[in-house]
């Protein structure tokens, strides 16, 4: 019994041939359900969401969205005390929702103005505003309020066999294709140190300055970060109701403390949340998915974390199944950006059997641009994706590049010639081979390097001696191997350029520059954040425009007939 099995035909009644064809379309393998607003199984338009309200007494918010302070649950308390600007909230709340919605869309209202106004709004008010916006207006808003001017993208680089060589080679390819961040996770958690090293080394081969992450439980994730083996963290989940938050064994205060802990070690970090998680866990407390997600966004803002990964994430099947659900998902990205947070905007989980639906789900983020359009895009075939599959994978690279070219939008990727890809994959594998040799880790054979150069999936690699690898992984942790050790090892084994790239990333710890909102590294190691690259969209002809060298780069595809000599293709 699998989801790819066609639905059982309800027999007897004769169906037309057309119905048969339609019945067999992939979209009919997706699940759809009716709304149930009383229980929160509704995207964003529910009679059971509260009405906006605010009251300030003695410099303190004493009423929020219809509840008085003694009725507050801990989300209300945290949001009232940390997220909302007490001085401006009454004034902001007094503005008509439709007026605010128009300000979000209207290019003549500056980003700074709508962001400032947003600081004084309650969750219900924010919901009231975005409910007035259709999907195109949401995209208009997103184009203006996303925090970084230059859009970017993130990739998953994982292996069904936790093979560090595969992770390194795919990380190198992903980096050279343009991803600014690379994320990995494990099947066997004890493999983490080796896979995280593979990701970092491969990433720095592909393009210097790529930031890497390894999703694990808090202690190990923080440990790898503190050693400088990874560069940022993202899988710090928050939820929109108190009961689900507690089920997840956290509170806004514990997460706020954790946010400061990461910053204290100079490590970039963002939270993760998304529509549907609360209703999925059965405790939506009768609120719509988007209302609860707005509470998460304000909680994140209140905690002072620089950014948020949202866009339903692992619960995408829930908003995806209800009417208007994907509009709500676009709206949650908008609100995260409007609240002045870095937004890593989802598109990161298997979403639909239908290629058309997969694409349309992506359009709002790709066309308006976000800080990370996908969080992430599977830089490995989906069967190797240890985050349970993404909305896009390696098979979609050429489609993605073509859509960028068709629509003249920048989704952060580019077409790269085969020889370049083979070269970086091979170099990544060789660099990791050298690192393993120097660190006395189980050897990487030349056969594995060769496999990594030409492979697609984990099936294409020789099997590793898992026991020996795990033993090696343990010794990496026990010996206290740090990022700096890896830099030294790369330097002396003939990968000086990779070592230099890696050192540049570690050097940024000292400056703390990557702690600012939406910070990434350019290829020249210039930190690019919503401070020095603040979004300045103010209508047609302004903001980020795909032009010049970058546009020339995106005009290239695998097969483009040369105008000069139509018998040849452009290389």
């Amino acid at each position: 019994m699998t989801a790819v099995e066609p639905r059982p035909q309800t027999a007897e009644v004769r169906a037309s041939k057309r119905t048969e064809i339609l019945e067999n379309r992939p979209v009919n393998l997706d699940g759809f359900v009716e709304e149930w607003p009383e229980k929160g199984l509704v995207a964003m338009e529910s009679d059971f969401d509260p009405q906006p309200s605010i009251r300030v007494e003695g410099g303190r918010i004493v009423e929020l969205d219809g509840r008085t302070r003694e009725q507050f649950d801990f989300m209300d308390t945290f949001i009232a005390d940390h997220a909302i600007d007490v001085d401006t909230c009454e004034q902001a709340m007094a503005i008509e929702s439709v007026e605010i919605a128009r300000m979000l869309v209207d290019p003549r209202t500056s980003r700074a103005d709508v962001v400032a106004l947003g600081r004084g709004l309650t969750p219900a008010k924010i919901l009231d505003v975005v409910k007035l916006m259709n999907v195109v207006e949401i995209m208009m808003g997103m184009q203006k309020v996303r925090s970084r001017r230059t859009p970017a993208n993130q990739a998953h680089s994982t292996s069904a066999k936790d093979n560090p060589i595969q992770v390194a080679a795919d990380a190198a390819e992903a980096a050279v294709r343009g991803f600014a961040e690379l994320e990995t996770t494990l099947g066997v958690l004890r493999y983490a140190p080796l896979v995280a090293i593979g990701l970092q080394v491969g990433g720095q081969v592909g393009r210097g300055g790529v930031l890497t992450q390894c999703a694990l439980e808090e202690a190990t994730e923080l440990d790898l970060g503190m050693r400088g083996i990874t560069a940022y963290a993202e899988t710090i989940s928050i939820y929109g109701t108190e009961s689900v938050f507690v089920d997840g064994d956290d509170t806004p205060w514990s997460k706020a403390f954790l946010a400061s802990a990461y910053a204290s070690r100079g490590i970039k970090m963002r939270f993760t949340s998304g529509t549907g998680s609360e209703v999925q866990m059965g405790n939506a407390e009768g609120r719509s998915m988007l209302f609860l997600e707005i509470r998460c966004i304000l909680m994140a803002k209140g905690a002072g974390v620089q950014g948020l990964q949202n866009g339903s994430i692992s619960c995408i099947g829930v908003p995806g199944a209800v009417p208007g659900g994907i509009r709500a998902v676009a709206a949650e990205n908008l609100v995260a950006s409007w609240m002045d947070l870095e937004c890593a905007s989802g598109n990161d989980q298997s979403f639909s059997h239908s290629a058309m639906r997969r694409t349309s789900r992506l359009v709002p983020q790709l066309f308006s641009g976000t800080d990370f359009v996908c969080s992430g895009y599977s830089g490995v075939p989906n069967k190797d994706n240890m985050f349970a599959g993404s909305n896009l994978d390696t098979e979609d690279y050429d489609d993605w590049n073509t859509i960028q070219r068709d629509m003249q939008v920048d989704g952060g990727l580019r077409h790269v010639r085969e020889d370049v890809i083979l070269q970086v994959r091979n170099k990544a594998a060789r660099a990791l081979q050298a690192v393993f040799a120097e660190l006395d880790l189980p050897a990487i054979t030349d056969e594995e390097v060769e496999a990594a150069t030409y492979a697609d999936s984990s099936d294409d690699y020789p099997d590793r001696d898992v026991l020996a690898d795990l033993e090696g992984a343990r010794s990496v942790m026990e010996r206290g191997v740090t990022g700096l050790d890896l830099v030294k090892v790369l330097e002396r084994s003939g990968f000086g350029d990779v070592a230099e790239n890696y050192l540049q990333v570690l050097r940024q710890r000292v400056s703390g520059d990557l702690l600012q909102t939406a910070a990434i590294f350019t290829g020249d190691f210039v930190p690019l954040a919503a401070v020095n690259d603040a979004n300045d969209y103010a209508g047609p002809g302004t903001g980020y425009r795909l032009s010049g060298e970058r546009w020339e780069e995106l005009k290239k595809l695998r097969h483009v007939t040369s105008a000069e000599n139509p018998e040849e293709e452009v290389v």
């Binding site: 938050f245 514990s254 910053a263 000292v510 401070v531």
Partner: protein, 143 residues
């Protein structure tokens, strides 16, 4: 030392490197491959200092990001706390994990041992909310 910082000072690594020091007092420019190879630069150097975190906090505030600024201040206070203790404190802040007295003990230690007053305030605030929301440590019932 008070420095007035604006978004124009960002990135500090490029625009104001003279303000940055490693925990052992080296300048950013001292972190070179040669220094790494010779062992002059150690892992200890590749950490952020409380002073730098305060500077980044000021930049965040100058860009209108009050809460990010506060987070940087809490982080500056936390640089002094060893890794294991940071994790232990985080675990203690989980729901139903600590009694009011235990949380107060943490707050006192933050204040006393680490001069982390902002962090202490966050823990005290949590203790108050946990008490009101019945999230202090106790035994959960049967079904």
């Amino acid at each position: 030392m008070t420095v007035d910082l604006t978004p124009a000072d960002y990135p500090l690594s490029i625009n104001r490197p003279e303000l940055l020091r490693t925990p052992t007092g080296k300048a950013l420019a001292d972190i070179t491959m040669a220094a790494v190879v010779s062992g002059e630069v150690t892992a200890e150097d590749l950490r952020v200092t409380p002073e730098t975190l305060v500077l980044q906090g000021r930049i965040a505030e100058s860009a209108g990001r009050r809460q990010l600024g506060e987070n940087c201040r809490r982080a500056a206070e936390m640089t002094a706390i060893p890794d294991a203790e940071v994790l232990a404190m985080y675990n203690a802040l989980r729901p139903n994990a600590s009694s009011a007295a235990q949380l107060e003990e943490i707050a006192t230690r933050l204040e006393g041992t680490y001069s982390a007053t902002t962090c202490a305030a966050l823990v005290r605030e949590a203790a108050e909310v946990y008490a009101a929301r019945n999230l202090l440590a106790d035994d959960s019932g049967e079904f």
